[in-house]
């Protein structure tokens, strides 16, 4: 498979404190790369560097490079980059507007004016996020009033509306019950066909359920990266084994 994202010798710092240490890895097209590891191991920092959300943090600095299809992302316009690499946060963050407007928000700002086309984009995005049937009769009601699981799928639909190439999931199910989690995972597996996905999760089982490959981070270092099956059956590294069998973390 083709390499979609290539990370080369990436180090990240907050106020000079190093959180990622000389990290190199690749993300292949149309795979789900799960990143596991205990908290404070640099998973979220890594994710937020991939779409340059960390640019907004004045205490952040980095060394090394990241390439998206051979383009260095640090040479790209960050806004353009974020339309190619979408991001889903740990807590669902619906904007305080209607369900329809939440989806239409970004396309509208980015220049889609035609109402009919917009309707299509909204419907298709909601369908792809497995939410259309639940909300098609109340598109104009407030997104804040939805349940947590629905909100998270709305946020997925919102990302799909800008037609990204890569989607970053930052512990997307940490606030959800098992049924809602299953629905989000189902949506993720469906999305894999069209998009490349990087999933950060605290839930080792989730990684084993959905990950094509899995990477294990510890204290800002990449300990191991392999096909999910291989890693869970025959981890090469002792620390990895301890972590996935629940001996620490």
């Amino acid at each position: 498979m083709v390499d979609k994202i290539k990370v080369e010798n990436l180090s990240c710092f907050y106020s000079g404190k190093q959180v990622l240490k000389n990290l190199s890895l690749t993300v292949k097209a149309n795979e789900i790369l799960s990143i596991i590891g205990p908290s404070n191991s640099g998973k979220t920092s890594f994710l937020r560097t991939l779409n340059r959300m960390n640019d907004m943090n004045v205490y952040f600095s980095r060394k090394g490079n990241i390439f998206l299809d051979d383009d260095n992302i640090f040479d790209m316009n960050p806004e353009k980059l974020r339309t190619r690499i979408g991001m889903l946060f740990a807590m669902p963050i619906p904007l305080p507007m209607s369900i329809y407007d939440n989806i239409a928000y970004a396309p509208r700002v980015l220049g889609l004016k035609n109402k009919k086309n917009m309707d299509e984009v909204v419907e298709q995005s909601l369908r792809d996020a497995s939410l259309w049937d639940e909300v098609k009769d109340r598109l104009n009601s407030s997104a804040i009033k939805m349940s947590g699981g629905q909100q998270q799928r709305l946020c997925i639909a919102r990302i799909l509306a800008i037609e990204p190439e890569v989607i970053l999931f930052d512990e997307p199910c940490s606030g959800l019950d098992p049924i809602s989690t299953a629905k989000v995972e189902e949506a993720m597996l469906k999305l894999k066909e069209k998009y490349t996905i990087v999933l950060v999760t605290n839930n080792v089982k989730q990684a084993s359920r959905v990950g094509t490959r899995t990477a294990f981070f510890l204290m800002g270092e990449l300990i191991e990266i392999d096909k999910t099956q291989n890693m869970f059956l025959t981890p090469k590294n002792k620390t990895t084994e301890d972590y996935i069998t629940g001996r620490f973390g």
């Binding site: 959300m53 907004m56 979408g86 928000y105 970004a106 700002v109 804040i144």
Partner: protein
């Protein structure tokens, strides 16, 4: 003597004291309002509001004072609101969090407590004399707007920062630029807070006397204001003049003037208070 009140009894006494103290704080205010309404009501008429003063202000109406105040206040708010809101956006959304920014924020918070008469001095020195606007609507409005700037900036910053940071992140993560995020997500949600703050500011500067004392207000002007560079009569200053400087002033005209000023100021405050309660109730997040 060595005795101790039982906890129950001391609680009862304490509660009674708190209630009494609340009454002592509230009743005088209501009394002031009642006194003014009772004594000023008889003077209030269409004529009083729409005619010029006569007989050395001992008769006739207060039209020029009302118009003067409206002119000064509307100019002031037109200057201070946009500048203040932009400054708040700059400080809250764009400024880097460094020592200089922190000093500026601190200075702005503290300037809100500087006495209004000191702003009057500043206005006199800068706008009336240095810039040569003379004693005029413009100089008074600029003085009031400088005085109100720290207040507007502080309330607007409060409204902006009450919009959750996560909304901004969600918007940025969709490839929306910083300004578009502010315009479409942050500002609409901060607007109720900014507007109630603005109404309270209008109310406050309408009643201010000291800053316009030497920058805009005139004892008596026989005609209505024609340009920005005219001296004008102003309601609060007029009240000060007729209650202290003019002998044998009919009481009901003074009270009537006070009543008009009070109605103007309190009605705006009331609108702001009610609007705030309403927006808090319908707030979506």
């Amino acid at each position: 003597m060595n005795f101790k009140l039982s906890p129950k009894l001391s609680q009862k006494i304490a509660y009674t004291l708190l209630v009494i103290s609340t009454i002592i704080v509230i009743v005088p205010v209501l009394t002031v309002i009642v006194i003014i309404i009772k004594n000023g009501w008889s003077a209030l008429s269409w004529e009083f509001l729409t005619t010029m003063p006569k007989d050395g202000m001992r008769a006739g109406g207060i039209l020029p004072a009302i118009l003067g105040t409206l002119a000064i206040v509307s100019c002031a708010i037109c200057i201070t609101l946009p500048v203040g809101v932009c400054a708040a956006i700059y400080l809250n959304e764009y400024a880097k969090d460094n020592l200089l920014t922190r000093i500026i924020k601190l200075a702005i918070v503290n300037l809100a407590g500087v006495p209004s008469v000191v702003y009057g001095l500043f206005g006199l020195g800068i706008f009336v004399m240095l810039m040569g606007f003379g004693v005029s609507i413009l100089a008074g409005a600029l003085t009031l707007s400088i005085m109100e700037l720290p207040v507007i900036i502080t309330t607007a910053r409060g409204a902006l920062s009450s919009v959750p940071y996560s909304f901004r992140e969600a918007s940025w993560s969709l490839g929306v630029s910083k300004w578009q995020t502010i315009r479409r997500v942050v500002l609409p949600n901060a607007l109720p807070g900014i507007m109630t703050g603005a109404i309270l500011s209008i109310s406050r500067i309408s009643g201010e006397t000291a800053p316009i004392l030497f920058t805009a207000a005139a004892f008596y002007v026989p005609h209505l204001p024609k340009s920005m560079f005219d001296q004008v009569m102003a309601l609060p200053y007029h009240l000060y003049i007729i209650s202290t400087q003019i002998p044998n002033m009919p009481k009901n005209i003074i009270f009537g003037t006070a009543l008009v000023l009070l109605l103007m100021v309190l009605s705006m405050s009331l609108i702001a208070i009610v609007a705030r309660l309403y927006f808090r109730k319908i707030r979506k997040w």
